[in-house]
């Protein structure tokens, strides 16, 4: 291989460079011997700095390049901006001989070199059609007649000239531009890079077109050069966007290689904020959530494209890679020191928490606590339910604390961990986000099984995964707020001897309630509301209940010296959370009004017995019977004495009904009052439990993260230029945020409708309006 060095001066720029010209035999049968410049050995990053010669870098023009080509199927030449293309190199000795397929090219213009390039690249010659040849994989025909939409990231508006890379969606005739690759670059490296990205991200990223940001007047040669780039990266259609100076109105045109598409089509230029689209999570309506990522709506396709191309955005301009890109992270990859520190600290914290939780759950599940009286007690107390619920939450959190941050989780997921993959010098261990550490040390099976590969159903998968991450974050924030409020309550309780005051007022309140009940019973024993009661039954029932109250009062008085101490220790548990404190309050109310519950049960049972007796005897009165086997009423012939006794009993029960009914009514009302108070407390507890505070705060502070859709704003227009739209994220409303991210709670609301409740009350059946999940039905 002979090399020779040439140096050339560019007229105005005084640019000196050295180029190695090497000569090599083409691989295909002796044809195509040609001169070509192989600059790959020279090229190591920035061109002038690494060249051997003392290149005068200070006078380097803005876009320094020369166009070279290699007549091989792999293009390993450097593509640079055409400013200096006029100074292309030849050496007379290296003019190709005997290769009719090549044109002699001289230090002529760009035109000739391009022609050379065009005719030479592959051994298979195809006649030129129209403006150029197409070599490469044939793409599906573009849908002509549909408006072409170009989604352009607003961060690339001020980028320097280059080529556009992104994703082309032929069904929707839209091109999503992800980044701009600047000159100089080597096409084969770009193609290889794109192939790698495609493998990792499972998104078909390709070169879409060219971007020209010229400060001065538009140059003809430049536009032709950019057109000709389309032949290297064959893409149909080849989109050319150009911006002049600081003008707001850009020129956008497409280059069609197919001869049948001659009509002028409309182009819509849609600007989007890449960072926001990247970080946002689209909440589609439920029925479209089942569709795959490809055939879902246009918007989700665009969001998915940007989100999946995370790996493309990991290189910034401070990297020493062969490819220089501009995208939203090109000024520096986003990372936060606090988040990193927290991640480092959370691993041992997580392990400690898991250990403690396993201890606690072991104690809870031990056989000691499973004996009958204790287990019955635990099931009745709502405090234990709440504590169990919170324990579950803690277990969910401690399983993987890494999943707190939604975006971090998505980064983890996208990082394939491919061995030996050196995409732009990125080694997994050194990544600033540190998620690779998370990958290796995370104990969660979820992450471990999700990471190895990305499936086609990325959309569904990422929605589920981010929902889990959000759920964990919500649980964590809810726990935190709960504990904070609980500690606040505690600090108020234990200040200025509030507990003592509470204990002091408790006994008089209990006494007062008991006295009120006694008055009530005396009233019932007399002539309540003018009704006349059956004296004997009245006295019996009244005395029975009065005796109960007397017992209860004595019991309370017996407990009175210990009340303060009990309250003091019980109040300490408020540090576990405000919900626990509220549950304890509800339990205390239940314990204090236990006698009302007892009276209700007595009254209800008595009344129920009476009603059933009455109905059965009424059937006897009419000569009918209830058939238990057939569950229906049958006729039956009774004996005379049966009928006689039956009728007597029926009369007695009927006339005693008002008394029993009144007692039942009074105690049921009291019981309902207590139930309503307890129900309100439980409602508050449920609210604190299920409110997704993290999501609400996220919606308030970073509203673009939770997207319900997009909205378009029409920007200033100019005739003859494409339509300019700005795509912004339409955030989810607060109502839908709460609905989507609600945490599940353990209590279920009354299943009975109002009519069945009334029926139960009328028949005297016992009602349990606040039944917890998992409790056996009575």
């Amino acid at each position: 291989m002979r090399t020779s060095h040439c140096s050339h001066n560019l007229g105005a720029a005084q640019f000196r460079s050295h180029v190695a010209i090497s000569r090599e035999r083409a691989g295909c049968g002796g044809r195509g011997k040609g001169v070509f410049l192989s600059c790959s050995s020279l090229w190591h990053g920035r061109l002038p700095h690494s060249s051997e010669a003392a290149a005068d870098t200070s006078r380097l023009p803005g876009r320094s390049a020369w166009l070279c080509w290699v007549h091989h199927s792999a293009l390993s030449a450097v593509i640079c901006a055409p400013q200096l293309s006029k100074a292309l190199i030849t050496h007379p000795k290296h003019i190709p001989v005997g290769a009719p397929s090549h044109r002699v090219w001289s230090a002529g213009g760009l035109r000739s070199s391009c022609e050379l390039h065009r005719t030479a690249p592959s051994p298979v010659r195809t006649p030129r059609v129209g403006g150029g040849q197409r070599c490469g994989v044939s793409r599906p025909p573009r849908i002509a007649g549909m408006v072409l939409k170009v989604f352009f990231p607003s961060c690339c508006s001020s980028a320097e000239s280059g080529i556009l890379i992104g994703r082309w969606i032929p069904e929707q005739s839209s091109a999503v531009v992800l980044a701009v690759v600047h000159f100089p670059f080597i096409p084969v490296q770009v193609k290889q890079y794109l192939r790698e990205v495609q493998q990792v991200a499972k998104v078909s990223v390709s070169v879409l077109g060219s971007w020209n940001n010229s400060k001065q007047e538009k140059e003809e040669s430049l536009s032709e050069f950019l057109e000709d780039l389309g032949t290297i990266f064959s893409h149909e259609p080849w989109i050319q966007i150009s911006k002049e100076g600081d003008s707001k109105f850009w020129n956008c045109s497409t280059l069609q290689k197919q001869s049948d598409s001659h009509r002028e089509e409309e182009i819509i230029l849609v600007y989007y904020d890449q960072r926001k689209v990247m970080l946002s999570h689209l909440h589609p309506p439920l029925d479209t959530a089942d569709l795959g990522a490809e055939d879902a709506s246009k918007l989700s396709a665009i969001f998915n494209t940007v989100a999946s191309s995370k790996v493309l955005f990991m290189t910034d301009r401070y990297d020493d890679g062969p490819i220089k890109m501009t995208h939203w992270q090109s000024d520096g990859v986003e990372a936060s020191i606090i988040v990193e520190l927290m991640k480092q600290a959370s691993v041992p914290a997580c392990m400690l928490l898991t250990f403690l939780l396993s201890l606690v759950s072991g104690v809870c599940n031990s056989r000691l606590l499973k004996f009958w009286p204790l287990s019955f007690l635990w099931s009745k107390l709502s405090t234990c339910e709440q504590l169990g619920h919170r324990l579950q939450h803690l277990q969910v959190i401690s399983s993987s604390k890494k999943a707190q941050n939604q975006t971090q989780l998505m980064r983890c997921m996208l990082f394939s961990g491919k061995d030996g993959w050196d995409l732009a010098h990125r080694k997994p261990v050194l990544h600033p986000c540190g998620e690779c550490l998370a990958v290796s040390t995370s104990t969660s099976s979820l992450l471990a099984c999700m990471l190895p590969r990305l499936t086609k159903s990325y959309h569904r998968f990422s929605a589920a995964l981010s929902r889990r991450a959000e759920r964990k974050a919500n649980i964590f924030v809810s726990l935190l707020i709960d504990v904070a409020l609980g500690i606040l309550l505690m600090s108020w309780l234990y200040r200025k001897n509030q507990i003592g005051h509470l204990a002091d007022t408790l006994i008089p309140v209990a006494d007062h309630v008991a006295e009120e009940l006694q008055d009530l019973l005396q009233w019932l024993m007399g002539a309540p509301a003018g009704l006349k009661m059956n004296r004997a039954l009245d006295q019996v029932l009244g005395r029975f209940f009065l005796y109960h109250i007397h017992l209860w009062i004595s019991y309370i008085h017996l407990m009175s010296p210990f009340i303060e101490m009990i309250l003091w220790y019980v109040g300490l548990s408020a540090c576990l959370g405000l919900t626990v404190a509220l549950c304890i309050l509800s339990d205390i109310i239940a314990l204090l009004t236990f006698h009302i519950y007892c009276f209700y049960v007595y009254g209800a049972r008595l009344y129920c017995l009476k009603i059933y007796g009455l109905s059965s005897l009424w059937r006897l009165f009419r000569g009918k019977k209830w058939n238990v086997l057939r569950q229906r009423v049958d006729s039956c012939s009774y004996d005379l004495d049966q009928l006689f006794i039956g009728t007597l009993l029926f009369t007695i029960l009927l006339f005693l009904l008002p008394t029993t009914a009144l007692y039942y009514l009074v105690f049921t009302l009291l019981r309902l009052l207590v139930v309503i108070v307890q129900g309100l407390i439980h409602l508050l507890v449920d609210l604190i439990d299920s409110l997704p505070l993290y999501s609400v705060i996220l919606r308030f502070c970073r509203s673009y993260r939770l997207a319900a859709g997009v909205k378009f704003r029409v920007l200033e227009q100019q005739d003859g230029k494409p339509l300019r739209l700005l795509m912004q994220i339409n955030p989810l409303s607060y109502g839908s945020v709460v609905q989507t991210y609600r945490l599940p709670t353990y209590s279920c609301y009354p299943k009975d409708s109002w009519t069945s409740l009334c029926k139960k009350l009328f028949l005297g059946e016992l009602i349990y309006p606040w039944k917890h999940k998992g409790e056996k039905q009575d």
Binding site: G145, M146, E266, I268, T288, L291, K711, L723
Partner: protein, 190 residues
């Protein structure tokens, strides 16, 4: 850009503004009448008179401050959540239809419906009490059933323009929608 005057179903004056941004993009905005000063002052004076009457009865000055507070809060809530200033429809062929309502406090609530979901834009009749009113609505495609309609999205709900205004809007929309539909159908044939 032209602006024409119409009336709403209840007789209030409306203004329809039609703007053509490009061949396949059109914006139609209906402006509702602004909040009248006289109705505002009438409501405020009524509330304050009632509060003063209560004050005279119970001699508690809290009633007065509560009335002032209530009036302010009520006005803010009304301007931010209830009073709609302008309702607009942005039709972008091959992208979709965007419906925006701007409130008096400046808040804008937007919904964007993609073109693939839009089946048709029609004018429907509705019987409301003793009146028959016309309203424009977008019919959404049912993904499972190509002939079915999954949802009906009514437009211009708070301004309720009359039929002549609706016909204008309908014609404008259909010019662009028909363009899009024929383009996509011809591709399907191809």
């Amino acid at each position: 850009m032209e602006e024409r005057r119409y009336r709403s179903a209840s007789g209030a004056p409306l203004a329809l503004r039609c703007r053509q941004h490009s061949a396949s993009c059109r914006e139609l905005a209906v402006r509702c009448p602004r909040l009248q000063l006289r109705s505002l002052s009438a409501v405020t004076s009524a509330v304050w008179l009632a509060a003063y009457g209560l004050f005279v009865l119970c001699q508690n000055s809290m009633v007065l401050s509560a009335a002032i507070f209530l009036t302010l809060i009520g006005l803010i809530i009304y301007l931010h959540f209830v009073k709609i200033d302008q309702e607009s429809l942005l039709v972008i062929g091959s992208l979709g239809i965007q419906v925006t309502s701007s409130y008096a406090s400046g808040k804008e609530s937007t919904t964007f419906i993609e073109m693939s979901q839009v089946k048709d834009v029609v004018i429907n009749e509705a019987i409301h009490m003793q009146k028959v009113i016309y309203y424009l609505c977008i019919l959404l495609q049912d993904p499972q059933d190509p002939q079915g309609v999954s949802e009906v999205v009514p437009l211009f709900q708070s301004s309720k323009p009359r039929l002549d205004c609706l016909i204008e809007v309908y014609k404008s929309c259909h010019e662009i929608l028909d363009q899009t539909k024929t383009a996509s159908q011809s591709d399907g044939v191809k």
